[in-house]
């Protein structure tokens, strides 16, 4: 059984088939990239997995559990974290508290305990903060630790989003265009971090990406989509050679 599996996943908006009977599987510990032209349905697949959209048909399995009907907030509790294409951070909060929200799925304290700030809450807080500091160190975010998000440049925000996802200690992480808007150097850093996530933290990565250099560098396998359908699946080189993929990108 695969670690993560989507079966015949479809998302229709009226007559538009944004995602059309897509099936794929992600193995534990691999980096799988989804590529495709604009409007191919890549981000829609992510939004289906994190339950922002409800699939028209099809099923999603994670660790042999059917998660198709889970409410959105439970997806994170299962250990699936994500980043967004157009950064979704908590603008008027500091970097630190943004990252601490990433720890939300690990919080066990009750409201009344928090009102009194009992020792159990304090102990939990320390655990959260230790974990957050580790992520800050991993992603070199020390200079921005106490800054408000609203004053930070785009490239840094992108990294903070990744950090927030990592703070939740995910088993599977969904990266929606991690390199969009980053310069060459930042993209380089991103590719190292993605590989570190896999090798050091043991996180399985599913990513949507346009930058083929980055895709080639980090992915174990690639899926090419167009018009909501799977065109090709395999190693990065295989997929890029595939005649349908070439046709989708360059025309016939």
């Amino acid at each position: 059984m695969s670690y993560f599996r989507a079966e015949n996943l479809s998302l229709h908006f009226g007559g538009l088939k944004a995602v059309d009977a897509v099936s794929f599987a992600v193995e534990k510990g691999e980096i799988l990239s989804i590529i495709g032209p604009n409007g191919a349905g890549k981000s829609s697949i992510f939004n289906l997995i994190s339950r922002i959209y409800r699939p028209t048909s099809g099923r999603i399995f994670f660790e042999d559990q059917d998660i198709t009907e889970q409410p959105p907030y439970d997806i994170a509790k299962l250990g699936i974290a994500r980043t967004f294409q157009n950064i979704e951070l908590f603008e008027n909060a500091t970097v630190l508290s943004n990252l601490l929200v990433g720890r939300h799925r690990h919080s066990t304290t009750q409201l009344w305990q928090e009102l009194l700030f009992l020792p159990s809450v304090r102990a939990n807080e320390k655990v959260h903060r230790r974990r957050v500091e580790q992520v800050i160190e991993l992603l070199d975010l020390e200079p921005y630790r106490d800054k408000l998000i609203s004053g930070l440049p785009y490239g840094v925000r992108k990294v903070i989003e990744l950090a927030r996802a990592l703070c939740s200690e995910p088993k599977l992480i969904l990266l929606d265009e991690p390199s969009s808007g980053l310069n060459v150097e930042e993209t380089d850093d991103m590719s190292f971090w993605i590989r570190d996530m896999k090798s050091e933290l043991g996180v399985t990565v599913l990513m949507v990406e346009h930058d083929m250099a980055l895709v080639n560098r980090v992915s174990d396998r690639v899926i090419a989509l167009n018009y909501g359908r799977v065109l090709a699946m395999g190693s990065p080189a295989e997929v890029q050679q595939h005649p349908d993929v070439v046709a989708a990108y360059l025309g016939t």
């Binding site: 439970d74 951070l89 008027n92 990433g102 939300h104 799925r105 939740s168």
Partner: protein, 383 residues
């Protein structure tokens, strides 16, 4: 300028980041404790109102400032608290019991208001909460067997452990102060734990909050319930302070006053609730003073600039007529809100921080320090 060197996770959790805070708040608390033995009874009465308004302000900050859910229905929560106290008092229920019962009941009603509010945002939520307030007002006027209708209810002096505590006694003031301080400490505790951060997350991006595992619906309801419960507790004190309550005290204007408290104080910090409460409590006597004295002063100025006594008298009566126009107070409140939103969106507390920073950085302060970058890329689709 002080730079904090943090060596422990505890340093980020502490309520007082450094000893300066302890000294400042210690002195403030000491002053508040000796206040009843120094200040006049009029000022003490105003101070009690500041405590009550600030408590409601903190409650509203939890909901509006930190969870991002606007409410123009807090006068109704206050009313429910006040009426619960007045009703239970008739049956000789002891103070601690009806105090907590009022909080509990308003909390439950707050949660019930929160549920339909889950699907509403922005202006629609405001309309829903106004409707709720109007419904409550109407119920208070019509449910005569419980609320005594428009005739209102008398509230006896509260008795604590068998001792009567008159509404102008120092003990009553200490009680209000204690409720305010405990509310602030509880809220600060909440804000440094997962629930408070979930509130802030919901305010800034519901999509991101959801994808981080925050049950947005549950936390919105929690926020409504906590905010309403605190307001209900303040309502009990409010009822005792006024010693008489009737439906026309809990109108939309009161809800707007609460919004003014947090808008003028500053919506991003609990300091704002207290500063805003001081402002709203003090503006009323100030306006009365203007109303009584301005016509005479203006006429006097006109007279010194050579206007005849007939013209000056004419001006005096015209100004006096203007000052006693109906609804002038509401208009002044409206102007104050507009001016603050336009020119001081961070409120009085924001202004204080700016002044403080100006002196800390002198002469290097930049006017743009508090300007926020405009966000152009934001996906609204996934709401």
């Amino acid at each position: 300028m002080r730079f904090l060197f943090k060596t422990d996770y505890e340093d980020d959790i502490k309520l007082f980041p450094h000893s300066g805070y302890v000294v400042t708040y210690g002195v403030l608390l000491a002053l508040l404790l000796i206040a009843p033995y120094v200040l006049s009874s009029y000022l003490m009465s105003q101070l009690v109102f500041v405590c009550i308004y600030a408590t409601v302000g903190v409650a509203l900050l939890i909901l509006t400032g930190f969870t991002g859910q606007a409410s123009l229905g807090h006068a109704a929560f206050l009313a429910i608290g006040a009426y619960t106290a007045a009703y239970l008092q008739k049956y000789n229920v002891p103070f601690p019991v009806y105090f907590l019962a009022a909080g509990l009941l308003t909390g439950i009603i707050g949660a019930m208001v929160g549920f339909p509010a889950l699907r509403l945002t922005g202006i629609y939520l405001v309309i829903a909460t106004i409707s709720f307030a109007l419904i409550v007002e109407e119920i208070l006027a019509r449910w005569e067997s419980v609320t005594n209708g428009n005739e209102g209810m008398r509230v006896k002096a509260l008795s604590l452990l068998g001792v009567a505590v008159p509404r102008d006694s120092p003990t009553f003031y200490f009680l209000c102060l204690a409720v305010l301080v405990l509310t602030i400490v509880g809220t600060l505790n909440l804000l440094r734990s997962p629930t408070g951060r979930a509130f802030v997350a919901i305010r800034d991006s519901e999509t991101a909050a959801r994808s981080m595992g925050v049950n947005v619906a549950l936390y919105k309801v929690k926020s409504f319930a906590i905010s309403a419960a605190i307001t209900g507790l303040a309502g009990v004190l409010f009822a005792h302070k006024l010693s008489f309550i009737s439906p026309e005290m809990f109108t939309l204007q009161l809800s707007i006053e609460f919004i003014i408290v947090i808008l003028i104080g500053g919506t991003f910090s609990l300091h704002g609730a207290v500063l805003g409460a001081i402002f709203i409590v003090m503006i009323d006597p100030f306006l009365t003073y203007l109303k009584d004295d301005m016509p005479g002063i203006i006429a006097g100025i006109a007279a010194t600039f050579g206007a005849g006594s007939a013209t000056a008298g004419n001006i005096q009566s015209k100004v006096a007529a203007f000052a006693s126009l109906n609804g002038l107070k509401g208009a002044i409140y409206g102007i104050i809100i507009v001016l603050f939103v336009l020119f001081e969106p961070l409120g009085l507390y924001g202004r204080w921080l700016k002044i403080k920073l100006f002196f800390q950085l002198f002469p290097l302060y930049k006017r743009a320090t508090f300007k926020r970058q405009k966000i152009y890329v934001k996906s609204e689709r996934n709401r």
